[in-house]
């Protein structure tokens, strides 16, 4: 067993894990609070990535700077989406809400396909190539930044939920909607903010990813499926769980690719997903309630 390869795999896994966690953070927040399985989340990621790309190609803005624009933009998009499309059907059966997000996802993805074509875009940064040595492993600088950002973001979200008023309202609304209403919390507003924040999170993810991954309309769906596995693994509604879940899944993939044909590696995560859903849907850290 080639130790160097293993270490590299672990390093890559950690970095990818951070990225998965970033995407999953918003998803788990939305589900944890509103119990909505938000399948359009992936498309928001894609939108953010394209946003960064165009900021870069049109204005020469570095993605790590344009994130300042992308974050509020995605927040607005998310809130708007919630306000106009989800809010009307909040009391409809869950399946309808999911279908709506699927429909929106299909629409947005193909709109992007129409506008931007399927050509892969990339952002080449002057420092993309800088590699950092961690023992026998090598990381690209942008990847490292993504990893640190995801940890940072998780901490920020955690702080937000624990220590701010908004956070308290969100937690109340997610625990018991009726009771929250009774205590005077404007639950609909809380949901709006939650959806916005969740989307903003994925906006950050998109900005950071744009320096690492190729950009194409279908990229959203690709990450979304993995993000779902991460969310379920970590426990829906649990960010720290999402972070750890991200690491676990990514490590499984990167270490797994050492032992099996690379094309079959995604099957691993789907199998994990199925097993999780069957036997432990609350994931590793989630609460008993589903």
């Amino acid at each position: 067993m080639d130790v160097a390869a293993l270490v590299q795999a672990i390093v890559t896994g950690l970095v990818m894990g951070g990225i998965y966690a970033l995407v999953a953070a918003g998803l788990t927040l939305i589900f944890g609070v509103m119990r909505i399985i938000n399948l359009v989340h992936g498309e928001f990621l894609m939108v953010a990535m394209y946003g960064s790309f165009f900021m870069n190609s049109l204005f020469g803005l570095d993605p790590y700077i344009s994130v300042v624009v992308i974050l509020p933009l995605l927040f607005l998009i998310g809130s708007g989406f919630f306000r106009f499309l989800i809010s009307p059907i909040l009391s409809a059966p869950e399946i309808n809400q999911i279908l709506l997000t699927i429909g929106a996802s299909i629409f947005i993805q193909n709109l992007a396909l129409l506008l931007f074509t399927a050509d892969f875009r990339t952002i080449a940064l002057s420092y993309s190539r800088i590699k950092i040595q961690l023992g026998p492993g090598i990381i690209d600088l942008p990847q490292l930044v993504a990893l640190l950002s995801s940890i940072l973001l998780t901490l920020i979200l955690y702080w937000l939920l624990k220590s701010t008023d908004l956070g308290r309202w969100i937690r109340a609304a997610s625990q018991n909607r009726e009771a929250a209403l009774l205590t005077g919390i404007d639950v609909r507003r809380v949901y709006l903010f939650t959806f916005g924040i969740g989307t903003a999170c994925v906006g950050v993810a998109g900005s950071l990813l744009s320096g690492i991954y190729y950009i194409t309309p279908s990229i959203g769906w690709l990450f979304l499926l993995t993000a779902f596995v991460v969310v379920v693994l970590g426990g829906m509604g649990n960010f720290v769980g999402a972070l750890l879940g991200g690491f676990i899944i990514a490590l499984t993939e990167s270490v797994g690719s050492l032992f099996m044909p690379i094309a079959l590696v995604p099957v691993l995560k789907f199998i994990i997903f199925i097993i999780l859903l069957l036997f432990r849907p609350q994931g590793l850290f989630g609460l008993k309630r589903l």
Binding site: I102, G103, I106, N110, L111, A263, I274, L278, L290
Partner: protein, 314 residues
């Protein structure tokens, strides 16, 4: 109206026109099959293409390797799909997967199949399978003209619509609807959840697979993305939902309405990337969920003279 459909092939010379109808009936067929599990039983599967694909692959592989006529291979495919459905259904229902969790599992399950199919050379891998040409060979489920295919799929559609009708009016239909509306209450009333959900799954899977064989014999080429993929699964669901989930004619009607739209957009925007019709589908799905959750048939059945017998309205 059924007579009209019988006459169409005689009224037109255009192969293209017939092809459109064949595809409409095909998707209507699949959507109706899906509806047995998704509409009647309320278990929304987003991986139904798996069953279609199993049917298509089974009959095609048997034909290509052993020369077994797809007319026979079809039933084997159906059986296999039924077994897979049984296995999968048993696992899912046994562990209490419902609603969105069931939905996610079906997606994951289907994706596993797609990946495996893409990577196993023996069944074609990513190159798929080209069904051996036998020319005009009715015994081998191949015809030169479109007309035979037209009638076959029309009959199949009629068959599953009839089966849906029978199920809906039968005791099982009532049980399924009870399960759909409120599982706990249904169980409290003594309805065996597992048994009926499994039956719905197996029936739905079996017939979907037969449809898969039809597709293989009509198009003469199958590969994982086209016949096993998430795209097909979602398409089926969209037809069923926009047409009218839980109704008998709804899913077929959905195909009737939506497929031509796809063709028109494909034609009008020729040269563009083929995603426009998907945009329309996505938009329709969104609008449908907000304004017409029962689909078109659901809305129409509020007009008395179109009301179907039985408690099928969502």
């Amino acid at each position: 109206m059924a007579f009209f459909f019988l006459l169409i092939p005689w009224l037109t010379d255009s192969r293209y026109f017939l092809h459109i109808f064949v595809m409409i009936f095909f998707f209507g067929y699949l959507a109706t099959c899906w509806n047995i599990l998704g509409g009647f039983a309320g278990q929304h599967s987003f991986g139904h293409a798996v069953f279609v694909g199993i049917g298509a692959y089974t009959s095609s592989l048997l034909f290509a390797h052993t020369g077994l006529s797809p007319w026979f291979g079809m039933w084997i495919g159906g059986l296999l799909a039924g077994l897979v459905g049984l296995f999968f259904g048993f696992l899912s229902f046994r562990y209490g997967l419902k609603g969105p969790y069931f939905l996610l599992v079906t997606i994951a399950f289907a994706e596993v199949f797609v990946y495996i199919a893409l990577n196993v050379r023996a069944i074609g891998g990513s190159s798929g399978i080209t069904i051996p040409l036998a020319g005009d060979a009715p015994f081998f489920f191949q015809f030169n003209g479109k007309m035979p295919y037209y009638y076959i799929i029309l009959m199949m559609l009629g068959l599953v619509v009839w089966i849906s009708y029978i199920i809906q009016r039968s005791r099982m239909g009532y049980y399924l609807i009870a399960i759909r509306e409120n599982e706990d209450a249904a169980q409290a009333l003594g309805i065996n959840l597992m048994r009926h959900k499994l039956w719905a799954t197996v029936i739905s899977a079996f017939f979907s697979a037969l449809g898969g064989t039809f597709y293989a014999q009509y198009i003469l080429f199958i590969d994982p993305p086209s016949i096993l993929g998430l795209g097909l699964s979602i398409e089926i669901v969209i037809y069923a939902i926009v047409g009218g989930i839980g109704t008998i004619l709804g899913p077929a009607f959905g195909a009737f309405l939506l497929f031509p739209i796809a063709e028109v957009t494909r034609g009008v925007f020729a040269g563009q990337t083929g995603g426009i019709h998907l945009m329309v589908y996505g938009l329709l799905l969104v609008l449908c969920v907000i304004f017409m959750p029962g689909g078109i048939m659901g809305r129409l059945s509020q007009w008395k003279f179109l009301r179907e017998d039985g408690p099928s309205k969502r």
